[in-house]
Symmetry: C2
Subunit: 357 residues, 2 copies
């Protein structure tokens, strides 16, 4: 199998053909089945899942995504009927399994942000003292706030945290049930049967074993490059451009439409990364630039969804104004995280791809 994955830095290396694709798909299918078995053995059916079953679910998603992506990128090499039938099913599996994790991660992110915004560090009030040595300190707003008003925003932060915890824990529990139902369904069993077949027999087209994978992989990379070129990178590279929050109070429903092209690039970057895995396997050199760009886009997606979560929580009927205020601060904070992630992506992307094949 090592011979199917030539050193990508070796220009004399021969073409990589459908055999490599078949090997990759078989390996991912085996991994899928292993994770599925592990998930069943480690109490995947428990109400919240053990650490092992969470890992197993992650491994299931991981291989489902890779199989689905490879069917997409290298579709001319595969039986089209089979390929078109299985791809949406794999997307359903990974999507359904991802929801529980997404709820948990979103709650964790929002509670961490609330904690940060509540100022874990304590320090004395020094605002009034330090300007006094200089004449002309005409700041009209240095009047001390009455003590009775001081705790208002902290109370709001605590209440906002409790509200988010309640809502996202409920969403997570529901997502867990949905995932369990899905894994027990006849629809999922049909997917698992297909993957079991794939583990031994990949439905390649007759010409596949003689077809070079590079042009299809290059096409995936080109799609990525085109999508990146369409992003507003000049703006993103200008710190504090205030773009991400520009519709923070607009009537458009969440998520912000401006985020969509970035989410799209995140998916295309993943396709490109998986195509590299097919071509080079374990020999693929770590591309620090791709890694940093991908991390920035993950952060972008997480912050975007967390901001939406805060905005949605603020629409809960009959919440206290202090709670709503804290959720507004939290929403804006996460939208700035979105902007920060775009800046990080721009910085990562503009670096020359020195080690990439």
């Amino acid at each position: 199998m090592a011979q199917q994955h030539p050193d990508p830095t070796d220009p004399t290396a021969g073409p990589v053909t459908g055999d490599a694709l078949a090997g990759y798909l078989r390996a991912q299918a085996t991994e899928f089945l292993r994770a599925l078995r592990l998930h069943r053995e480690t109490g995947g059916g428990a109400s919240n899942g053990t650490a092992e079953s969470v890992d197993a679910a992650r491994a299931l998603r991981r291989s489902a995504r890779r199989i689905s992506a490879s069917l997409h990128t290298f579709r001319p090499l595969l039986d089209p009927d089979w390929s078109e039938r299985i791809r949406p099913e794999l997307a359903w599996v990974s999507g359904t399994l991802a929801m529980e994790h997404a709820c948990a991660a979103r709650l964790e992110r929002l509670l961490a942000a609330l904690h940060r915004l509540s100022g874990a560090r304590a320090f004395p009030t020094q605002a009034a003292a330090s300007g006094s040595a200089v004449p002309g300190n005409t700041n009209p707003s240095t009047h001390p706030t009455p003590t009775s008003e001081r705790g208002n925003h902290t109370v709001g932060a605590a209440k906002a945290g409790a509200l988010l915890e309640r809502q996202l824990t409920l969403a997570r529990t529901r997502a867990h049930s949905t995932a369990l139902q899905a894994l027990g369904s006849s629809r999922f069993h049909a997917v698992a049967d297909n993957i079991a077949v794939l583990a031994s027999e990949v439905p390649l087209t007759p010409a596949a074993t003689a077809t070079d994978l590079h042009p299809l992989s290059a096409a995936a990379e080109e799609q990525l490059t085109d999508a990146v070129a369409a992003l507003p990178l000049v703006t993103a590279g200008h710190p504090y451009n205030a773009e991400a929050l520009i519709h923070g109070l607009s009537p458009d429903p969440a998520p912000h439409p401006q985020d969509a092209p970035w989410h799209q690039v995140r998916l295309l970057l993943r396709l490109h990364r998986y195509a590299r895995e097919v071509l080079y396997g374990d020999n693929a050199p770590t591309d620090v630039r791709l890694l940093a760009a991908g991390q920035a886009l993950n952060r972008h997606r997480d912050a975007s969804e967390a901001a939406t979560g805060a905005a949605q929580a603020a629409r809960t009927p009959r919440i206290a104004p202090a709670t709503a205020y804290a959720l507004g601060v939290l929403h804006a904070d996460q939208r700035h995280e979105v902007e920060a992630a775009r800046f990080a992506f721009q910085q990562a992307w503009q670096k020359q791809a020195v080690s990439a094949p």
Copy 2:
């Protein structure tokens, strides 16, 4: 008088002495009296002030600040009793006159931010459409929001704008009355009498006319440099450091204590600028670096006070949650403006001072 202000780029230029200080103070005192006459003639007593009376009040503040700053920086050259008596009075005058302007500017800034956050531009909802061509789009939060919830945040923005307008217009009217009362008071008449004397006769010490101003001006610059060195400039130069909002929901009363050292630098920068005016008059070369740094610190101050205004408005009893949410977003937005201003200051300051004398 031009001979008192040598070309600062000319190393053979002679020392600048107390005569230059006297000339500067006489000119500023004359300007103060001119602005005061103009203010009285242009209806400074009207309920909201004409454009001319607003200009006159600005000119009054401007000269009061310069006289006060010069008395501070060059205090060894002036009669100490007189100097110590008049300085707090000038700070009172410029402080009292500044409040009305500050309220108006704060309201303008907050309404502009609300307008921006409400998304003046309209566009179709495209979030769901653009990710669909790619497999594995597992975003669990792309469910469309029910139409009934869509307008909630916009309503909040409108209500928040109305609330801020009400509160800050009231504060402005009060500040206007306070300023009018101050200008009609015997305390102010005593200040004006002192300035009238200053316009013809500056109370220099006997040694002043033989004393070089450069060491005192250099001391003012050194104070500035020291204060800048104590700022967290490494953090500020790192975009999206999220420092400015770190106590956004903390129980500490506004304004944020972390802003104080920056406000202090703003005042020291102003002292340095006025000292340059005393030494070089109209010959002072425009120092682009100082200009940019000063503008960044003004923006820092304005955003800091606007953020405080939004937080204070959110403490109004019985406001709707949607209003409080919008004020939370607005507060966080202005705190990010604070962070952006610090970044701008860091960028301006790190540039070499090539043309400064």
